[in-house]
Symmetry: C2
Subunit: 338 residues, 2 copies
DNA sequence: TTGAAAGCGCTAACAG
DNA sequence: CTGTTAGCGCTTTCAA
């Protein structure tokens, strides 16, 4: 009796009906005699029958697995995690399951995971691209499965793209500081080769157009940022305000300002929000991304494509929000207000 | 030509070999003439053939999907996210993919998701149970797919369980404070009905056996914790040290201590670590869980079961680590050291 | 070493 | 409303 899990045939025999009738009941078709429905249900229950999705998929016409793939930088990182959660909620409302994976800046891994998803026939893919080119998708993915890119733009493959408003956010930080009287504003940034890093630095420089402040980039971690900030503040014509381009850099700069006792005199606006930023002293003003909205938007875009939407790919920017908490409102001179 | 994706049959025709030969090549069997292998490979490339995992699964004997399911409280929460990442890394080293879902304390959702995974034949399941009973697993899951529970114990279903050392961690916090001279230690905790909350409170009380301090529980959020702390500190015989049972409570208590100007005189140890805890003033001493290790351990346990291990289920506790940073080393009186 | 035939569990198409 | 037949894409068995 324990020869593997029960099949529809087993159920049919047990209920004394045909295979097809079981199929009808299991799939909720209404054109079945209530009496037979009851018999089938009973057989299903006593045999612990569970439908075999793979088998049904194989035969079915609409070839949908009810699964979508999600490939992010690192599902353990807060940004990716919140985005993931938002996608999950959207997927859930459609009855879709999520296959997830992390890429860690590894282009090979990106392709390998995309292939693995393709073999499992996900109905769609949301991808935060890391490789220099996504042309491989055209080969590895069946032509009818749509891809939506998040956080970074893709190359070599057309798909809707949902990005954070990095350039605009950096500009907003600068204008906020200008409004508070600062005229000498520094930027400490991360990797210049990443799309995010590039966009933020560009936003900073454009907003400052006529009087660019000192810029340091490619700072990998808090200690490097701390050293860079100390150097800057000890140098000639030190900045009265600093914009930091990534969370670890913000942390390093906070340490530097504290160490120098300048945390109440030099203004700071961090790009990317910091958890517990409001418990610090001074509380840290930040430009926050909205990963939940990015995820929701990407999922919605994907669903529209799955449903057949067929116009040219769009690029959607999710605006950032500047959250004033104190560090960014430190006045920069006589022109500064309140 | 564009009638769906190519099948093995298409490849066979294109390469002028039999279906079975293609199958052999695709599955890396070595008993094929190199010349035919080359022809098949070429056909695969030009047709963009990708194997259909579902179809192979259906026919195959070993019925493995190469997928495992992971159901956590909330994949967007840092604890779950880090655990998720650790499971992913372990799964990757085995070539397994991950199907993920969040449960949000919803028992119905737990069962529903477990069923959805079962229909897709995951080879195993890692579950952070939320419902009062997991007996349904015996019915909904095929008997040969193993389940490992994380973070909370399960009921009504036998499986390996990987838990954080909540009770021990709370005890360690108390002993740390006793060592620093405190004799009046309060506990502000969260939901008493959760396994975690219960264990932590028990650990606190046991470590304090002879002179229990004041205990407040079921604090839902930071404001509630803040109010409770203020009340306690304004009351008669106020504590000289506080242990907080959950992250939001720690945040509320920090606010209370700051507001009262007691943050340098009342000691604080938080259960669960706080991001940026070292930037606060004073830096917050915490008892940190190790979600990465919990995830890794759970994944390893699951793999052993998948590989056929068949001894009675184990319960594994992952130890916590007390990280002294300042707030927990505030002295409690003349007996206190250093 | 290669191939033909059968069939995994299920649904589509077409009868009854 | 119900049943029969064929076959999804693949691997198995067995024969050449």
């Amino acid at each position: 009796m324990t020869e593997g899990r029960p099949t529809m045939n087993d159920v049919a025999r047990h209920a004394g009906v045909s295979l097809k009738t079981v199929s009808r009941v299991v799939n909720g078709e209404t054109t079945v005699d209530p009496e037979l429905v009851a018999r089938v249900r009973a057989a299903v229950a006593t045999l612990h029958y569970r439908p075999h999705l793979g088998a049904s998929l194989l035969r079915r016409n609409d070839r949908r697995t009810g699964t979508i793939g999600l490939l992010l930088q690192d599902v353990g990182d807060p940004f990716s995690a919140v985005l993931h959660r938002a996608v999950e909620d959207a997927a859930r409302s459609r009855g879709l399951l999520l296959l997830t994976g992390s890429l860690d800046e590894d282009a090979d891994r990106e392709r390998e995971q995309a292939r693995a998803f393709a073999r499992r026939h996900t109905d769609g893919l949301i991808l935060a691209p890391v490789g220099p080119d996504q042309g491989y998708l055209a080969l590895d993915l069946p032509p009818d499965i749509p891809v939506v890119f998040v956080d970074r733009p893709a190359r070599g493959f057309a798909g809707d793209t949902v990005l954070a408003g990095d350039e605009a956010g950096a500009g907003e930080a600068v204008r906020h500081l200008l409004r508070h009287g600062h005229r000498r504003i520094a930027y400490l940034g991360g990797d210049r080769r990443s799309a995010t890093g590039r966009d933020r630095q560009r936003g900073f420089l454009r907003a400052l157009a006529d009087r660019p402040g000192p810029v340091v980039h490619d700072l990998p971690d808090p200690p490097a940022a701390e050293r860079a900030a100390i150097l800057l503040l000890h140098g000639p014509d030190p900045p009265t305000a600093i914009v930091t381009g990534r969370r670890p850099i913000t942390v390093g700069v906070i340490r530097a300002l504290r160490g120098l006792g300048r945390h109440r005199s030099v203004a700071l606006v961090g790009l990317d929000d910091l958890p517990l930023a409001d418990l610090l002293d001074p509380a840290v003003t930040a430009v926050a991304q909205d990963p939940a909205r990015i995820g929701r938007t990407a999922a919605d875009a994907l669903f529209e494509r799955i449903d057949g939407r067929d116009d040219p790919p769009r690029e959607i920017r999710i605006p950032t929000a500047l959250i004033p908490r104190g560090s960014g409102e430190i006045s920069g001179g006589p022109t500064g207000s309140s």
